[in-house]
Symmetry: C2
Subunit: 208 residues, 2 copies
């Protein structure tokens, strides 16, 4: 299949949406937990989380302005805080269900439990094994299409014991964290191997 | 394990790097192909590709200014074009090897083959089954840590026949596209299920 930009723009809308949403390859599936100033909670599934840096620990998400995740963006603007929670296979159906256009809180509607940790001002997801507390640092408007790149700093981490390896890597296979293709196609990854740091003229070896 | 920002900043450097690089969950593994104005090619593995929009088709990558991928950023600035190529399991070792600090082209050094399609002004990777030609639209500096968010428009797509489903979704399991955890831990995802569009008070069903 060979497509130019002109072909892509001429595709039927849903076909193009599926194609372009799966073009990056596998993505993470995370639930973003927020609340507004009145304490009304919101929970939304995102597949656009991206590493921005380790020192300081920064993560980005891309948010649309005109759809379900709008509550997420509004709440983050209001309070300056949000949570990111890995979706694992046991909570996958309710996690996918958060993308429905609810007026009430997705916590109430899907049965996923809100968890408050210390005095962090946004709700986590109890069922998640990797919970991240984020403080908003910058919202960058992307004028090309009206989306926003939301960058936050990790200020709290709560991870199930026995999921963090000796060198800091999280064993997300053991956590049964899922990967997503496109908007609705979910996967459970199985290990191929872990490779040594690459250097010129040195063969890669397994470090698993 | 419960960590605050203070704990995270106090962690040993490599431990923190592994932890924070795996905190988002599974990521895609893609090779970015570029060349400079003199035609010298470069190939670098990235795990920071993120969907920005389907109409027009926009994708972003986060790039560090101070490391191996610098050639990628410089070449993109010089020519305005780059390619994104899915890493599949059969080309995984040479793909990982592109992260070594080579002075010569990673195409020559790793054995991956440069592929030129039509008159597109950047090299693809012959071994890849999903090849994307990108035109640079915007480079957004992230002042928080000196990285860059590079946004491009998809202007060319070449995908192996039989990999695109009827509704446009790419069968990236069949393509054997890999997922990565952290910097070096690779996975081959296996299907859980594909779910229907979520609506309030309607049960999710399988659409696989």
């Amino acid at each position: 299949m060979h497509l130019t930009l002109e072909h892509i723009l001429g595709l039927e809308k849903f076909y193009r949406r599926n194609l372009i949403n799966s073009i990056s390859g596998f993505k993470s599936a995370n639930l973003i937990g927020t609340q507004n100033e009145s304490g009304t909670t919101n929970l939304a599934i995102f597949s656009s989380m991206v590493h921005v840096g380790a020192t300081p620990p920064l993560q980005g998400i891309v948010s649309r302005p005109d759809s379900v995740p709008r509550h997420t963006l509004e709440n983050i603007k209001q309070t300056g805080f949000y949570t990111i929670n890995h979706v694992n296979v046991d909570m996958l159906k309710p996690a996918h269900q958060t993308s429905a256009r609810y007026t009430a809180s997705e916590y109430e509607q899907t049965g996923l439990k809100a968890d408050y940790i210390a005095d962090f001002p946004a709700p986590f997801v109890r069922e998640s094994k990797v919970k991240i507390g984020m403080e908003l640092k910058e919202i960058i408007p992307i004028h090309l299409n009206g989306t926003y790149f939301i960058i936050g700093q990790i200020v709290l981490l709560e991870i199930d014991d026995n999921l963090v390896l000796e060198d800091g890597l999280i064993d997300i296979e053991k956590a049964a964290s899922v990967a997503v293709n496109g908007l609705d196609d979910y996967y459970l990854p199985q290990s191929i191997d872990r490779y040594s740091y690459a250097k010129p003229n040195k063969e890669i070896i397994s470090i698993k």
